[in-house]
């Protein structure tokens, strides 16, 4: 798992060189999304919708589902950031190798666990609905972010740490002023992965009655109304791409100056 750390660093220009922030390349993703949505709208307006399709393919319904979807994604990601990053920092302070190996081991097993399994198991042993989906999302994205925080702090060069101490910094200052800034890119990469991931899992949340755009996909499939199915799927895909894009902007903006 060494060569590919963040599967979503889609453009792959992270060569450490700070490029101009707004290059034309920046706008490829939103442009593609706008074109795809335009084509979708054109296609929908050109076909005759029946009464079942009209019930879902209207602005109110779509806006509500999108709001549910984004709500679930953003709340879950925010919770993960609040919970996992401090835990990761705390764990990086321990000298015990066993604890760290244990955490990384559990994180690896967690990554092998299918999200759909986690969400459905939780629904069976607890309840169906929004809060279950939220808990499943948080549990599921917690480990990757924790892992990236831990790795991000660990990968700081030992010599850099030593020079910081040599300059008279206390361990706390080393953490706040040296280690954390240097770990920011790795931590953000973890958060970005978890955000995109949450969009995907929030789609699956429809199975346990937690709403979101997955509703449209499942309804379209069950009622054999492909326009509904495709609209739902395209919207989810566009949201995922846009969120990944916004996260990539944040990643570049928040990267420490000088690296």
């Amino acid at each position: 798992m060494t060569a590919v750390t963040s599967p979503n660093a889609s453009t792959g220009y992270a060569d450490g060189v700070r490029e101009r922030f707004f290059t034309p390349r920046r706008f490829v993703t939103p442009l593609v999304v706008v074109i795809v949505l335009g084509v979708l709208l054109f296609w929908l307006s050109s076909i005759q919708l029946d009464s079942i399709e009209k019930r879902t393919l209207n602005i109110d319904y779509i806006v509500n589902r999108t709001r549910e979807h984004l709500g679930l994604t953003i709340v879950a990601s925010a919770l993960v950031a609040i919970l996992a990053i401090p835990t990761g920092i705390a764990l990086s302070r321990t000298k015990s190798r066993v604890v760290r190996a244990l955490v990384l081991g559990i994180a690896n097993i967690g990554q092998a666990t299918p999200a759909i399994g986690v969400i459905i198991l939780l629904a069976i042993i607890w309840q169906t609905g929004y809060s279950t989906a939220l808990v499943a999302l948080v549990v599921y994205s917690f480990l990757p972010v924790l892992r990236n925080t831990l790795i991000g702090i660990q990968q700081v060069d030992e010599n850099v740490r030593e020079s910081a101490r040599g300059m008279g910094m206390t361990p706390n200052q080393v953490l706040r002023r040296v280690e954390l800034p240097l770990a920011v890119p790795v931590i953000l990469a973890g958060l970005r992965t978890s955000l995109v991931f949450c969009v995907g899992v929030a789609t699956v949340a429809t199975f346990i009655n937690a709403g979101g755009l997955g509703d449209m996909i499942v309804n379209g499939l069950k009622l054999q109304r492909y326009p509904v199915l495709i609209t739902g799927a395209v919207l989810v895909a566009c949201i995922a791409l846009l969120i990944d894009w916004v996260a990539s902007l944040a990643e570049d903006r928040l990267r420490p100056r000088g690296t």
Binding site: M1, T2, A3, V4, P7, N8, A9, S10, T11, G12, Y13, V28, V32, I109, Q111, A112, T113, P114, A115, I116, G117, V118, I120, L121, A123, I124, I125, W126, Q127, T128, V196, V199, G200, V201, T203, V204, F207, I208, G214, I217, G220, L221, Y226, L229, I230, G232, A233, V234, V236, A237, A240, L241, D244
Partner: protein
Amino acid sequence: MTQFDFGRLLHFWETRGPDIVGLVVEHISVVAVSLLIAMIIGVGVGMLVWDRPLPRSTVIAAAGVALTIPSLAMLALLIPTFGLGWTPTIIALVMYSLLPIVRNTVVGLREVAPAVMESATGMGMNKFTVLFRVQLPIAWPIILTGVRVAAQLTIGVAAIAAYVAGPGLGTFIFRGLSSLGSVNALNFALTGTLGVVLLALIVDALFVAITRYSTSKGLRA
């Protein structure tokens, strides 16, 4: 609300043994077939674009887009054209596998030391032979790492494919959901989920062995 009962779970495994084995075999098959297709496409494309900057970044960006699309949405988009079952599942799994494989192929081929390539050229090899007989063997462990990442990814995604009548252990997970409230709901979902986790861990370990034995003898540490 379902109470967990270990005895009942063991009994469940006993009676459903053959079903479980069947689903595991299906799961492995669909992942293996997809990885094989993805490897042929991914390594092929990687070999075509590794030394051309524009096609290279375009291909990697496109594969990145495919990976960003949530799995249920991807499957849904494939259904109108390809129907339900194995076909959309395999296509979706191949799309997800492409990014790690293409990216690692490109990285691996580019990482070969220029001195090594120059010596190969000096020995009278042309560009084509250098690629196949020098670069590819040296890049092989990195390419396999990409395949390994793809394997982990697809084993998980294949579980969701059961919703569109795809094969594999996801079938049990969804049966657990549809029998919510019944005695065996938890057993179904738990068996499916644990099966996927175990499969992922075993395949991961298997890849370590495959990488070791399929790497050129001169390169093994």
